[in-house]
Point group: C2
Chain length 434, copies 2
């Protein structure tokens, strides 16, 4: 008999069906035994009321893999109004070890280190599973939106000969006796590829050797990058990013209702135009409203971002806020200055519920500007930049782009208190496994 | 004025439009100058017949980035029947360096090393660009097909604590004073995730420290992986793979006609059921038809694969052939044996035009089988497998999967004579840049 999913049983009332999945729970209620079978889509209650059927379940532990053939019956008191009667069980994979923590409670009752140590099992919990289904949805929404705007997907090397943006915080690799590094971002490659496809995106791993042990940092994460040519300036990138965020949220809303419901997610408010504030105005606002004078500082602190996020929500009803025009010194050397005031850049951060989610902006596009910017930063050896700069020697259009951290997005979307909870198998200072 | 693409001009005959792109070529024919402007979608001929317009182009080198405003005119003798008259040019990015090789010839005239050294520029050639558009199409077709079959996308770590499948051929990474490795494949993680999502796929980089300098090997490539649970055996994986290959080819055919036309690609014949041959029968066939006795050997040589590919084409009209039931000793330890004859495995290779494209099969799913398999291979220290094996301790369904090498697929699809030509920025024994 062909297997059907638990969620499909409703269409088969009165018929015998075959279900497959994991022994999620076994409960005795009022003299009757109920087995709850879990498959990828949901759970189904199976009534075990004969001695023979019960004998077949004797000694089975949670997570035993089973096939069940039985009769689909409507039963108002059953979860979802459906249950399986007269079951015949087949054990596909027996289990003889107890779980490190139960998977059949509404929440996983395990501290973070214990959960992460056993993530290979813990991720089976329906709430965890739903979270990473949404991650897949974010990637799909990102790609679908950009494909719709004529972007081309690229896959660029993660093994590189020199550090992408600075010499610090890169992982070194032994490469056939040479020294190689893991790419901190696809920045240089996505810019180069604007010369080929005009508009490109990449979804892939990036590696940061930052020795930070915080709730917001992991050392390998998934970066959702895009880069686009023939722009006026950073405002075209911001408009595209707005469309991308709205595209992702729209995709989640339309295709992931069960997961959003299970996790009780309130989708953020993302108006057609996200509010924006200039960097110096943001500092002035922080002084005026919260009495903290950070004027003249080159960046915002996390508390400043939280204040600004709250302000955007209150003032504009938006969970997103662009902060535009960061001072040049704290931005990477390829950042395009504001032509009207070169102390500031044509760059932006996007705050999502008061936390930086995206950094982006317009890039330099003229070869001479790259030479000047490198000189101004004191880069004396340009050899590591030779192949990158070659793209600009041969004509690059005005362009810009940005990158969204997938796990950061999920953390803010779900209100998680640690980015590790948004990462399948996180890598940090102390964790390389599972 | 809003920019339009070169391919959109046909809808604007008699109107003034704005185009943007690169100076692809500048030609003098019969006293008239023609500028060819290239954008991401195509090229457009611009007639430069006034002294003033010509003066504006004085000294401009190929790849100069330009905007052109002009009148769209129907002209039967022009390429595509359309050209631009009365142009006004704006130089967006001037160029002062000569190209390493011309980009405006029908083919790139550069040896492979020179081309790869200057790939940042060479990839702009329309034929190269078309090739990597098709790569993007292959990824999109892969994902779309599997999403349609209820698979969930995952992103698993590339930094791992131990080698995935064997201790050899891994790149070592300095990880905060610990030793880490780059993942050779997502094999263990995708199996673990079958316990979560039943059906998963991943598109991402894999790293092989194989010191081979051949036309078929690169050291970082893009792997298209899928893995599925609740299968009968390897035949369910083969059926899914067939659907995936046909899904990819269908996507290319429907969405990439310009690229297929430019590259003169003949899409392969991929019947609804790919022909298959058992491994020992393949060896017998090789003896009977080509007189070479390779019976008893544990694997096929490239020449054997070419013969079998030719046979499948002749016999079944198929460019794809499954070879099924490889001997166990040459397959990884997690391979499921054939229950009827445990010397052979429930695994397969898929040959595409006589070259191995995919390796896959059914995996072990019982914990005890993993312990036995590890012992049989002489693995005395199981610590590196602890978190992997934990998934099997807690109930894993029968499952299997496979992996397609993106660049290998492109190489066979386009009949390229070196896999580096199917890789944006290849990594090999001698190449870490660009």
């Amino acid at each position: 008999m062909q297997r059907i999913y638990t969620t499909e049983t409703g269409a088969h009332v009165g018929e015998r069906v075959r279900l497959s999945g994991w022994l999620h729970a076994l409960r005795r209620m009022g003299g009757i035994n109920f087995l709850v079978l879990r498959d990828v889509r949901g759970t189904m209650q199976v009534v075990v009321d004969t001695a023979q059927a019960l004998a077949g379940l004797e000694g089975l532990l949670p997570e035993t893999v089973l096939a069940v053939e039985g009769l689909v019956a409507a039963e108002p008191q059953a979860p979802g109004g459906i249950e399986i009667h007269a079951p015949v069980f087949e054990v596909l994979s027996p289990v003889s070890d107890a779980l490190p923590f139960p998977l059949n409670k509404p929440e996983v009752k395990a501290g973070l280190p214990v959960f992460l140590d056993h993530a290979t099992i813990g991720l089976r919990h329906p709430a965890k599973r739903a979270l990473f289904r949404l991650s897949a949805g974010v990637m799909a929404g990102f790609r679908a939106t950009l494909n719709g705007f004529g972007f081309t997907e690229i896959q660029t090397p993660k093994l590189v000969a020199s550090a992408t943006e600075s010499g610090a915080n890169v992982f070194g690799v032994d490469y056939f006796g040479q020294r190689a590094y893991l790419a901190q971002s696809p920045q240089f490659y996505k810019q180069i590829m604007v010369g080929v496809f005009e508009r490109v995106f990449e979804v892939g791993p990036v590696f940061r050797a930052e020795p930070h042990d915080t709730i917001r940092h992991i050392n390998e994460y998934v970066s959702l990058d895009f880069e686009m040519g023939f722009i006026r300036d950073h405002r075209d990138v911001m408009a595209m990013l707005t469309a991308v965020i709205r595209g992702i949220l729209g995709h989640l809303e339309s295709a992931y209702a069960p997961e959003l419901g299970l996790l009780r997610v309130t989708l953020p408010s993302a108006p057609p135009e996200f509010p924006m504030i200039y960097f110096p105005d943001a500092q002035q606002l922080i002084l005026d409203r919260w009495g903290e004078d950070c004027r003249g500082e080159p960046d915002l602190a996390p508390q400043h971002e939280r204040w600004l996020g709250a302000w955007a929500k209150e003032q504009y009803g938006s969970d997103f806020l662009f902060v535009v025009g960061y001072p040049m010194p704290k931005r990477p050397f390829y950042t395009h200055p504001n032509p009207a005031d070169p102390r500031y850049s044509n760059s932006f951060d996007l705050l999502f519920r008061g936390t930086e989610l995206v950094t982006g902006g317009q890039r330099l596009h003229l070869y001479q500007d790259y030479l000047d910017a490198a000189a101004a930063r004191g880069y004396t050896d340009l050899t590591p930049f030779a192949t990158y700069f070659e793209a600009f020697q041969h004509g690059m259009p005005p362009h810009g782009g940005c990158a969204i951290g997938l796990e950061r997005f999920m953390m803010q979307l779900l209100g998680l208190d640690n980015i590790r909870l948004a990462t399948l198998f996180p890598r940090d200072l102390n964790r390389l496994a599972p």
